[in-house]
């Protein structure tokens, strides 16, 4: 464990130096412990792959005392189960066609059929290692190495919200329209970020995520429901 400073009001607790489920699960366990045990201090925590940023008021909550308490919490994490996320969100995805314009190229690059790419992409329970880049954007762990394709040479300047993409050994979902260099294989009708909902963010860091292939008709039906304000989550126990 390393404790580092990020400005006068930021403490970074680094719990490892790799991207893996075990280290990341410890980060989320520490985040939960900080929220539960130090909730009265007005802290904000930002989990990432292998570290937790703890933001504090440096006048009201002096650094030295807070570092001692964080060190103690991190020391008491014990063995955190790595592979069992608290909940699994099922995200319906319409693969290929105009909603996933790069699916065929990904198939060519990997030497598979498009159907095999979809099957492989929709198989695992991914782990949301962190949310970043844009509001609600999940960095996912668990992509099959066979789907490791290079990023686009020229990034797109506008990627539609809901796009599901693969690039550089990673996969993710674009919650808002944004630029990006990953290859688009499909689109979800659900909104990962909608500030008008009581729960603005569909995913939380630490969640499990499973992609469920749906056809265009089901996509349009779900998109209409979402448009009408039905943001219901589909959860697996």
């Amino acid at each position: 464990m390393r404790i580092l400073a990020q400005g006068e009001g930021g403490i970074v607790v680094e719990l490892g130096d790799t991207i893996d489920d075990q280290v990341n699960a410890r980060v989320h366990a520490l985040a939960a412990a900080v929220r539960a045990r130090l909730g009265g201090l007005g802290l904000e925590v930002v989990p990432s792959y292998r570290s937790l940023l703890v933001l504090h008021d440096p006048v009201e909550t002096p650094r030295a005392g807070l570092v001692r308490r964080l060190r103690a919490l991190a020391g008491n994490l014990g063995d955190t189960p790595a592979t069992v996320p608290g909940r699994v969100v099922r995200l319906p995805v319409c693969y290929g066609g105009p909603l996933g314009p790069d699916l065929d190229e990904v198939a060519t690059l990997t030497g598979m059929t498009a159907g095999a790419v979809v099957a492989l992409h929709a198989a695992p329970i991914y782990r949301v290692h962190l949310l970043g880049f844009t509001p609600g954007f999940p960095y996912l762990g668990g992509l099959d190495p066979a789907l490791n394709v290079p990023r686009l040479e020229v990034p797109r300047s506008r990627i539609p919200a809901g796009s599901v993409a693969i690039g550089g050994g990673q996969t993710g979902v674009y919650p808002v329209e944004s630029p990006g260099g990953w290859r688009l294989v499909g689109r979800t009708p659900l909104r990962l970020f909608d500030p008008r909902r009581s729960r603005p963010f569909l995913l939380a860091a630490g969640d499990g995520l499973r992609f469920v292939a749906i056809d265009r008709e089901a996509f349009e039906a779900a998109a209409r429901r979402v448009e009408a304000g039905d943001g219901t989550l589909e959860l697996e126990p």
Binding site: Q6, T18, I19, V45, S48, L55, L130, P195
Partner: protein, 318 residues
């Protein structure tokens, strides 16, 4: 209500930002120069974090549709109200129908136009700040354009009298600055020479600067190995160094995570100096300590509290 007669270069509604959702990837956003925003609000009797308009370089033209108490702080854009000069760092009464016109900023970059009652746009996740990249907050999630109309919120407490900050209390604005930094979190990824270069050289602000970050140009900062790290948390003020060794200082709209090594972090009270730096300005970095940084935060808060008392006294004397 205030009408945007001419939007200028980039104007957006900002308050002190949107904390509490950075674990979901939502940037802090909010005013780039939080100190100037706070003073603009205090001058009109608002809470320091009320929503105001952040103006950039070219302030544009604004029409007050109702009588208002307004204030302008930050970069001096030589504002005139129906032709009469409006001092920078001062508040003034504006009659219904009067027009406030700005010239390009001579020094500095960002000015703040506050109005008593605050700019009334919907709260989104607890803030009125505009974060344009995700279309969140402000007026429809975007920068203001000519023809927009801004509602003004209800005023609270007693209205202060129009007042100008004493010359001695006006902070320096633009023309280069030294930013105090705390080293880390990845200073161990740089060579001793690299850190010495960073702390002893001047870095020019390039045209590649916006609310998200400032790309600087100067002697390259040497690092031990590759500039990529495992994506980890990022804050406004973080100094990232990509492979070319040229520092990037993150602004209010910084992503919550980033993948370049961070040599240091600019302390909060000095971020206003970054906000007022324009292309060509020379920035330097001076190493400070946690104790000195906390002292600077305390001093800034005490200064704002003292100012709030002085301004409140103008209301009582009436």
């Amino acid at each position: 209500m205030i009408t945007v007669v001419k939007a200028g270069l980039l104007a957006s509604v900002q308050d002190l930002g949107r904390p509490g959702f950075r674990d979901s990837g939502m940037p802090l956003a909010g005013a780039m120069d939080r100190y100037a925003l706070a003073i603009a609000n205090l001058l009109v009797g608002n809470e320091p974090g009320a929503a105001a308009v952040e103006l950039t370089m070219l302030g544009g033209t604004w029409r007050f549709e109702a009588d208002a108490l307004a204030a302008v702080t930050g970069a001096d854009m030589a504002g005139t109200l129906d032709g009469a000069p409006v001092g920078p760092w001062s508040s003034f009464r504006a009659r219904a129908g009067s027009q406030l016109t700005f010239k390009p900023a001579a020094r500095g970059v960002r000015a703040y136009l506050a109005v008593r009652g605050g700019i009334d746009v919907p709260l989104v996740l607890g803030s009125r700040s505009t974060y344009t990249r995700a279309g969140v907050g402000g007026l429809d999630g975007r920068a203001l354009v000519t023809g927009d109309r801004l509602q003004v919120g209800p005023a609270q407490g007693r209205a202060p009298k129009p007042w100008a900050l004493p010359a001695g209390a006006v902070p320096p604005c633009g023309g280069g600055a030294t930013l105090r930094v705390l080293l880390g979190p990845q200073d161990d990824r740089f060579t001793a020479e690299g850190i010495a270069t960073f702390l002893s050289s001047g870095y020019r602000v390039t045209p590649q600067n916006d609310r998200m970050g400032y790309r600087l140009e100067g002697p390259p900062v040497a690092m031990r190995d590759a500039p990529d790290i495992i994506t980890d948390p990022l804050v406004p003020g973080a100094v990232q160094v990509p492979g070319n060794g040229q520092p990037i200082v993150m602004g209010a709209d910084a992503h919550t995570t980033g993948g370049y090594v961070k040599i240091a972090t600019v302390i909060g009270p000095d971020l206003r100096l970054l906000a007022q730096a324009r292309p060509g300005d020379l920035l330097r970095f001076a190493r400070t300590t946690q104790a000195a940084a906390v002292k600077a935060v305390r001093a800034e808060r005490a200064g704002l509290a003292a100012l709030a008392r002085r301004i409140a006294n103008t209301a009582r004397r009436r």
